[in-house]
């Protein structure tokens, strides 16, 4: 009986997931097929999260399981992984703020949703966002910040993007513990995502509207 990898991952059954992957690899299954199954499992995780059936621990734990799957499959991959077709997104925690947990979850969810993500890390200087937009031509930028000091850093980053003449071509979302509509207006962003899945939804909406 072939066990369902996508379902096992969606249900966060770590041991079962790893056993199925091992079984498939032993049987000479296509590594890309395994990753595609895992991707479908992650999609279910995201859906359950947006329906409030799953919470942050479930997202993080699914990521931990996926990491192990990737480690097992990687040596068997002849070419690269599956091509990223969702579009390019630049993400970083703004200057002065070094918090990464929220940002990392957003990066992870964007990545498993098929986006090509450029993660600039934390405490990212304003100019680095501008340079990366120019370099990659990404049309969506996500600015993260946990502290209230991030409000001004977000505003200054968006101002710099404007000044570089890139604002019209770029959609900007912000996110973090103390972000409200008031702060969207203050910083000049387009929207904020209240959680990682909301961020993915925004990015998808903006990419298709292009």
């Amino acid at each position: 009986m072939a066990k369902d990898l996508a379902k096992a991952l969606a249900d966060l059954k770590e041991d079962e997931v790893l056993a199925i992957v091992q079984e498939k690899l032993n049987a000479g299954a296509d590594p890309l097929g395994i990753l595609a199954d895992a991707g479908r499992g992650m999609e279910t995780v995201g859906t359950r999260f947006s329906k409030s059936e799953y919470f942050i621990p479930d997202l993080v734990y699914s990521g931990e399981i996926l990491k192990k799957v990737n480690e097992m499959v990687k040596p068997k991959l002849t070419g690269g992984g599956a091509a990223k077709t969702g579009g390019k997104v630049i993400i970083g925690t703004v200057a002065g703020d070094i918090h990464d947990i929220g940002k990392d979850i957003v990066v992870f969810m964007l990545d498993v949703s098929g986006f090509e993500v450029f993660d600039l890390g934390v405490d990212v200087p304003i100019q680095k966002f501008v340079d990366k937009i120019q370099e990659t031509g990404a049309s969506v930028v996500g600015l993260s910040g946990f502290l209230t000091l991030a409000y001004d850093a977000m505003k200054q980053t968006i101002d710099a993007i404007k000044k570089a003449g890139l604002r019209d071509k770029t959609k900007i979302m912000i996110g973090g513990g103390q972000i409200t509509d008031e702060i969207v207006k203050y910083t000049g962003a387009d929207a904020y995502g209240k959680d990682a899945v909301a961020g993915v939804t925004l990015a998808k909406k903006w990419m298709t509207a292009k």
Binding site: L12, E14, Y54, F55, I56, P57, D58, V60, Y61, E64, G96, D97, I98, H99, I101, D123, L147, T148, L149, Y151, G177, Q178, I179, T180, E182, I183, Y186, D195
Partner: protein, 446 residues
């Protein structure tokens, strides 16, 4: 003869602490007005905590480094210069006249952390800009396979694993053997147990600890001096001590967010056992400071139990049992627990209602306050929710409107304290003033 602390009932302990809060030993008030103002402010907070109607809603903005910014200084300035800390944190209290201050302990001694080569935080001038507050550097300072070591002997784990990993200058402590080995002379127990203290890395660590201790003494002098000076001028401190929920103790600085999350799935029983092991230690941490400071309120900042961070089942299984135990343990020692729920706590309100009536102050950040009042109002005093976003980027009129709404939603019948939802850092002073003045204007009970 006076009863010893151990012989007192919980109510007697609480009355003892409240007596010291109302009439702080050794404090000479600057004027009869200052004394009157001081006692009225403490009584206002106590009435609210006891679910009674005070004369008006007390106002305690949760201040971070606001005092530094208010005086044109940086967090770096006040972390490294205790005179500047004293003067700037005094000035805004005297100017803006809230009902309580939050001490100067929010500004830790910078030099001490230089001396111990602290790794757990970045702080002004040391990983973050001098203009910004300190920030935690999460990591797995305790490994996934070290639960048994923590559970078997928490103190020894801190001494020989956690401290060397988080303080570079204390690396030598990892060579120590358990102090419980020093049971007696016979058979060489003591002799063997002292061997590590002859080794240069341990001696270097001890030297760093002595230097850090000397710095701590200078800083604590400012902390005590500030408390006394503010009391003399009529302004009480809001809390006497602080502690943490056991789940946060493990999740914030031992295992980190990712670590504790995976532990919930991979080794749930050990995580729960560790929380239980830390519970009495966390109770003692809160009580001891409350007793030293003669103030029963014990601050408990809550992090990883917020909406979304755990499912309802996970909250009830992993987080709440030992937080409830902490709250009950503090109450048994005469304290007033002041859990402060960062983020949203909407999904937790029904669970946290399960505390003794009139004994707890629940502080909230982004929680729906009308809902909190409805669910908790007859059990616990609530406070907080003045939006930090509005305080940062709104106008004084925006702040005033928010205060008016909060008072309309929450103040009915007493049991409400006006607080900011999150810590006030570089907020426009006019907005802080508007928060305090509007509470005084709209918060009067008729």
């Amino acid at each position: 003869m006076e009863k010893t602390w151990e012989a007192m009932t919980a109510d007697e302990k609480k009355n003892d602490l409240i007596g010291k809060w109302l009439s702080p030993p050794g404090v000479k008030f600057n004027s009869p007005d200052a004394e009157k103002g001081y006692k009225a402010r403490v009584q206002r907070i106590l009435d609210a905590a006891n679910l009674k109607k005070p004369d008006r809603v007390p106002c305690f903005p949760m201040f971070g480094f606001f005092g530094a910014y208010y005086s044109g200084l940086t967090p770096y300035d006040v972390m490294y210069d205790y005179d500047k800390l004293m003067s700037s944190f005094s000035k805004y209290i005297l100017d803006l006249q809230p009902d309580a201050h939050g001490s100067v302990t929010i500004s830790p001694p910078g030099k001490l952390h230089d001396i111990v080569d602290y790794k757990l935080y970045a702080w002004p001038g040391h990983g973050v800009a001098k203009e910004h507050s300190y920030q935690c550097l999460e990591g797995e300072y305790m490994k996934a396979n070290e639960y048994d070591a923590l559970i078997e002997d928490p103190t020894n784990f801190f001494l020989t694993s956690f401290l060397p990993r988080t303080m570079g200058a204390l690396d030598g402590l990892k060579m120590l053997t358990p102090f419980t080995n020093m049971t007696e002379m016979y058979g060489g127990f003591t002799g063997a147990a002292f061997v590590p203290f002859g080794l240069p890395p341990v001696q270097a660590a001890l030297k760093a600890m002595i230097d850090a201790g000397n710095e701590a003494l200078k800083w604590i002098g400012t902390v005590a001096g500030y408390g006394a000076a503010m009391a003399a001028a009529g302004f009480p401190g809001f809390f006497g001590g602080g502690t943490k929920a056991p789940f946060d103790t493990i999740g914030d600085t031992l295992r980190g967010t990712r670590g504790i999350i995976t532990d919930m799935y991979r080794q749930p029983a050990k995580l729960i056992r560790a929380c239980e092991q830390l519970l009495p230690i966390m109770v003692k941490m809160g009580v001891s400071n409350a007793k030293v400071n003669g103030n029963p309120v014990v601050f408990i900042p809550l992090h990883k139990g917020a909406d979304g961070f755990l499912s309802d089942e996970q909250y009830k299984k992993f987080y709440w049992p030992t937080l409830k135990g902490l709250i009950e343990g503090l109450i048994a020692e005469g304290c007033i627990p002041f859990p402060w729920a960062e983020g949203g706590y909407n999904s937790r309100l029904k669970v946290i209602k399960d505390v003794p009536k009139g004994k707890v102050i629940w502080g909230f950040d982004t929680t729906d306050m009308a809902k909190a009042k409805e669910i908790l109002g007859d059990v616990a005093c609530i406070g907080g929710n003045m939006s930090i976003a509005t305080l940062m980027v709104g106008t004084p009129q925006d702040v005033k409107n928010s205060i008016k709404k909060l008072i309309a939603d929450c103040a009915k019948g007493g049991g409400y304290i006006m607080m900011s939802g999150a810590v006030i850092e570089n907020v426009p002073p006019d907005n802080v003033k508007a928060m305090i003045d509007a509470t005084k204007e709209y918060g009067v009970y008729k």
